[in-house]
């Protein structure tokens, strides 16, 4: 048993497991920032009074959220990079990393948009009516009354999207990012098959440790920020 453990521990000096998790965390951070920006833009389009923008936003969301992320990632490498010869960096690794970020962003932006829109939907009509009754026009009403409540209502679904984004960052393997966790786990198991359970559990528990605090924090935040009605 002690032998097994010490030999298993030796694997960590050969393979950079924390480094692999760091790649996934970086993918998640970039994906979260960019998809929050794109998703907010899409949500604004979808709730605007302008029909053409609303239509474009709806079209984007319906297409992207029904496409498998794996196809988007594969498309980035095989279609955009190989076939269209668009590259995002001279450096190979950086190029694939950026393609993975773009893939994660355009996919999760659709879900961020829906999360924010669902936040807008939690605001009762009476709030908007009251805002108009005291003489606020559209923009001040949106800024002072609707949006602050909407963002509070969107915390829980946004947190869920963030957790999904972290887990989905492993799909970067399909965009040839070779240093992230799922690729490293595969290599480690292939070369050390007698430790297959221990290796899988290491990576799995790593994700549990990352995911559960995010879930607890967003639940706490959404309860704290929820507008009691």
């Amino acid at each position: 048993m002690g032998d097994y453990l010490s030999q298993f521990a030796e694997l960590f000096s050969i393979y950079d497991v924390p480094g692999a998790f760091w790649v996934n965390i970086q993918l998640t951070i970039w994906g979260a920032i960019l998809s929050l920006i794109l998703g907010t833009l899409l949500a604004l389009m979808r709730i605007s009074p302008i029909a053409s923008l609303r239509w474009a936003g709806t079209f984007y969301v319906n297409v992207l959220r029904n496409t498998p992320l794996t196809i988007i990632m594969t498309f980035m490498v095989l279609a955009v990079w190989t076939q269209l010869q668009i590259s995002l960096s001279q450096d190979f690794a950086a190029n694939f990393f950026r393609f993975a970020v773009v893939g994660l962003t355009i996919y999760h932006a659709a879900f961020v948009c829906e999360a924010i829109r669902s936040g807008v939907n939690t605001v009762p009509v009476g709030q908007a009516e009251a805002a108009r009754a005291i003489g606020l026009s559209f923009l001040p009403a949106a800024r002072l009354i609707i949006l602050p409540q909407a963002f509070r209502g969107a915390v829980a679904p946004l947190g869920n999207t963030l957790i999904a984004l972290l887990k989905n960052s492993t799909v970067a393997a399909a965009a040839s990012v070779a240093t992230e966790t799922s690729s490293l786990m595969r290599t480690m198991i292939e070369f050390n098959s007698n430790y297959i359970y221990a290796i899988f559990l290491t990576f799995a528990i790593g994700y549990v440790i990352l995911v559960i605090p995010i879930g607890l924090f967003t639940t706490y935040l959404s309860n704290r920020l929820a507008v009691r009605r």
Binding site: I47, P49, I50, S52, L53, A56, N62, R65, N66, T67, P68, T70, I71, T74, F75, L78, A79, Q83, L84, Q85, H108, F111, E114, S118, G119, V120, N121, T122, V123, V125, A128, R132, F138, I146, G153, A156, P157, N160, T161, I163, A164, N168, T170, A173, A174, T181, S182, M185, R186, I189, I196, F200, A204, Y207, V208, V211, G215, N223, A226, R228
Partner: protein, 300 residues
């Protein structure tokens, strides 16, 4: 759409209508302009030529690649959703059990499989079964992983579904002398299951999308079939687009079905009939303050 108008805007007057019209024209020009730019750029790179698109619409492509691939996708998704419902029922009722040990064990299993990326599970089961020389290892790995993840999500749906029923249902069951287990099985679960149907259909969309992960572990599903065909013809952009469109059409139809079911059932059951968000874990937690909010949000 109309429901959002009522929150955000007054009925527009003549001046607002003029402004909306101008905005609409500008918006349309921008959207069409972006689309035109993309098409022009694709044309400049010769990507619209029939040499590249033609092979995609031949009998060979569909008979030998797309349709067998789609069959494999649907087969894996079908087995996975059935297994996931069984898994979800077992562990969902486990989390509602009277016995603390059962509740804890079910809780640990559900939380674990909800937190681990599906791709990690697929690679693990694929290599594990491969080392044991089990035939069909990629297919089994896809199905097992999807059952574990989606089953855990469904277990949470079951728990939330029972929690969202009016309290009187459980109380009435106990009042007529049923045990807690009997009340759960014959009164609460049947109602919760009907209320869950829209969320289950949404989960089927998640399952279908996740079967595409099978490409990474060599399961010959639609994406992999399309990719093999595209590599042979050097037209990956075109074949992957077709594969994506097939996925989008199927998933979009299922999404529409989920939304329709949600509206159809909402008048017919006491439970909350929200469609799922189509990603990650459903936020409907039993009795939580956001339960009603997300229920509203996702039915739109």
């Amino acid at each position: 759409m109309s429901s959002q108008h009522s929150v955000l805007f007054d009925a527009p007057g003549p001046r607002a209508r003029r402004r909306v019209l101008v905005g609409n024209i500008i918006g349309a020009v921008v959207v069409l302009g972006v689309a035109a730019l993309v098409l022009l750029e694709l044309d400049r790179k010769g990507q619209l030529s029939w040499d590249l698109w033609g092979p995609v619409f031949t009998a060979n492509a569909w008979e030998n690649y797309f349709i067998p691939g789609l069959q494999n996708t649907l087969r894996a998704a079908g087995f996975a959703i059935v297994g996931a419902v069984v898994f979800g029922l077992v562990f969902g009722s486990g989390r509602l059990s009277q016995l603390r040990v059962v509740r804890w064990l079910s809780g640990i299993v559900v939380e674990f499989f909800r937190a681990v990326p599906v791709l990690l599970m697929m690679i693990f089961f694929w290599l594990l079964l491969g080392f044991q020389h089990v035939p069909n290892a990629p297919f089994l790995a896809v199905v097992i992983s999807l059952v574990l993840y989606n089953g855990s999500v469904i277990a949470e749906l079951v728990r939330a579904g029972v929690g969202n029923l009016p309290k009187g249902q459980g109380e009435a069951g106990l009042a007529i002398g049923l045990t807690r287990g009997q009340t759960l099985r014959s009164i609460q679960l049947p109602q919760a299951l009907i209320a869950m149907l829209p969320a289950l259909v949404s989960q089927l969309v998640v399952v279908l999308k996740d079967t595409a992960l099978g490409q990474i572990i060599t399961y010959p599903e639609l994406l992999r079939a399309a990719q093999i065909f595209g590599n042979g013809n050097s037209n990956n952009l075109q074949t992957l687009t077709v594969a994506a469109v097939v996925f989008i059409v199927i998933n979009w139809l299922l999404t529409v079905l989920a939304q329709w079911l949600s509206r159809f059932l909402s008048g017919r059951t006491a439970g909350a009939t929200a469609a799922g968000p189509g990603i990650g874990n459903p936020t409907v937690v039993a009795g939580g303050p956001e339960a009603g909010a997300t229920a509203d949000a996702t039915t739109r």
